[in-house]
Structures are given as structure tokens and as C-alpha cells.
Point group: C2
Chain length 155, copies 2
DNA sequence: GCCGATGGACAAGTTACTTGTCTAACCTTA
DNA sequence: TAAGGTTAGACAAGTAACTTGTCCATCGGC
């Protein structure tokens, strides 16, 4: 016991969750680079999916990703520089600039989805498809009602 | 239909894993602040545990966390500023400065562990203790070939 | 006693955020 | 219909947690 501390099972769970995320994302990231999408970071891909799912302004994207609108605008600028999105003034609201996924952006999402699904399939083989689905169901339950924090009140 | 894409269940799984991690860490972070450990970031706590486990120089800590020695030195400087560690010249090697966890650092580890365990207990109530253990077992299986690094603590 | 490897300091650059401020445009409502 | 609050986005500056690169003192093997 000297100099050693029993690891907290709660901290261990957090470690497992983050480790699982990185296990998936690192692999997808490496494969994406090999397929001509070098420099894409995981955050970019998730942001792109959010844009495609309807978060077509910087402010709305910020809300969906729980970051400030300025952070979202920076992400959009990066995506635009890589050619994954373009922007167009909204005819219905002169304040807005609507963000649209380009064909290249759509291709990134397609390839990315395939790679993520690939990792998931291999996981299904390792622990069994129904076990994986149970894991997903429980995780969804545990994350669906995140407690109200200052983060949620951001503009 | 153009403009609509079936969402990737693999990407969704990655999102769930990251969401689960953040759900835990955000809460622990808020509670730590309330208990006099304001400004502590998850990376600090993990680094502190590594120091306690024997990584008592900047270079060694960098190796364990898979970051550069400069990054590790910066983390140690932050921990020192907060009073969680102190440093002392190594009598056996004039190049080294040995890092030691202070009583306050030990208290942070204790409180942090308790808070993580607390979140885990509430999760156990929500989905059932045996379901949570199954989830952990499966996650451990799926990430067993990966070592935990500080890189994981970034997001 | 030389010489490559190691530990640490210092400096500058990068990434992905943050706060803060500002203006233009929109939406009530009285 | 004009005032008053809200919202979108641009611009600026700051921060955290890294990175690369350079430098020097010390160490250890031969």
C-alpha cells in the first residue's frame, strides 16, 4: 500500500469510456488520412454531421455541440477551408449565413461512417452483437439526461 | 433522397462513449471546485496519480503519459502552483528534481476518487449494478490492448 | 577522459477553445 | 411605428494543454 493507492472504480469507468472513444476515433482518423482526408480532426467530423443534421448556422451549431457560437464559427471556418462546407446568405434572415455540406463534405461523412461502422462491427464480433446493443442502450440511458450546468446556459 | 444520410451507428457509439465520459467528469469537476479544489482539470488529477505511482521526474511522467517532457514539466508546474506537489533536488543525480505528492495533493486524489465513485453508484442505481459491471467488463475487453495516455484526457 | 544519452529550462508555435465587445438585423408590444 | 430586447455573426484578445526546437549541465559506459 505504500506509495500506491487503490484505483477508484468510478475513475476507472471514466477512463474506460474515454479509452473506448479514443480507440474508435484514432483508428478512424488514421484511415481517413490514408483516404485523402488528411488533417481532419474528430471534432470536425462531428461538427459536419451536426451541420448536415440541421445545425446550419454558427449559433445553432454551437448550441448543439455545447460550445460558444465563436468556437462553432471557428470550426465552420476550418471546415470551409478544407472544402467540406460552404456558406450562403439566408434570404429569409439577413443576419444568418447558412452553412451547407459540399459534395466533398458528404464524401467525408460517407467514408467516416463506414470506418466507424467498421470498428463497431469488429466490436460486435468480440463481445457479441446483442451485448453491444445492450451496452449502447445503457449508455444512451445514462447520458440522455445530463444535469443542468452553466454550460447549458451559454449563448 | 439527396441531403439525407442514414446516421452511422458506429459514429453514434463513439459519441455515446465520449458523452458518458463528459457526464462523469463535468460533475466531478464541479464538485471538486465546491470542495476547495477550484481550477483542477481532469488531466491534473490523472497526472497526480501517475506521480504518486512512481513517475517522480518530469521526463518519467512524460513517458508514462505519452507526452513530451516539456508538457509534463508544465503539468508539474501547474500542480506545484496549486500546492498538490513539491519538488526537491535528487541527491543521487544533480540533473533530476524529484516530484512528491503533498498532503493536499493526496487529499485531492482521495476526494476525486470518492466523487467518481459517487457518480458510478448513481449509475448503478439507474441501470442496475450487474448491468453496469457487464458494461465495464465489455468496455475493458474492447480497450484492453490500449494503454491509457494523457492524450485521452484532452477531450 | 571522452562522448553519446539524459534531465531540465527556455522560447515560440499550434489547436481548440474561452470572454468580451461590437454592429446589424430581427421580433415584440404597447 | 418606434422603442426595447433578442439574436447572428465578426473581430479581438486571452487561455490551456499541448507541440518542436534549442540549449546546457550532468551522468554513465567504455
Amino acid at each position: 500500500m505504500i506509495g500506491r493507492m487503490a484505483q477508484s472504480s468510478g475513475a476507472e469507468l471514466a477512463r474506460l469510456l474515454l479509452g473506448g472513444y479514443h480507440t474508435m476515433v484514432d483508428e478512424v482518423h488514421v484511415e481517413l488520412a490514408k483516404r485523402g482526408h488528411k488533417g481532419v480532426r474528430p471534432a470536425h467530423e462531428f461538427a459536419l454531421r451536426a451541420v448536415d443534421a440541421g445545425a446550419d448556422t454558427a449559433s445553432e451549431l454551437g448550441r448543439r455541440l455545447s460550445v460558444t457560437k465563436q468556437a462553432a464559427a471557428q470550426t465552420i471556418a476550418a471546415l470551409e477551408e478544407f472544402g467540406y462546407v460552404d456558406r450562403e446568405p439566408d434570404p429569409a434572415d439577413a443576419r444568418r449565413k447558412r452553412v451547407r455540406v459540399t459534395p466533398r463534405g458528404r464524401e467525408l461523412m460517407t467514408v467516416g461512417s463506414a470506418l466507424f461502422d467498421d470498428v463497431r462491427s469488429r466490436w460486435a464480433v468480440r463481445i457479441g452483437p446483442e451485448q453491444l446493443e445492450t451496452l449502447e442502450t445503457h449508455l444512451a440511458q445514462l447520458t440522455e439526461r445530463r444535469s443542468f450546468t452553466a454550460e447549458d446556459v451559454r449563448d
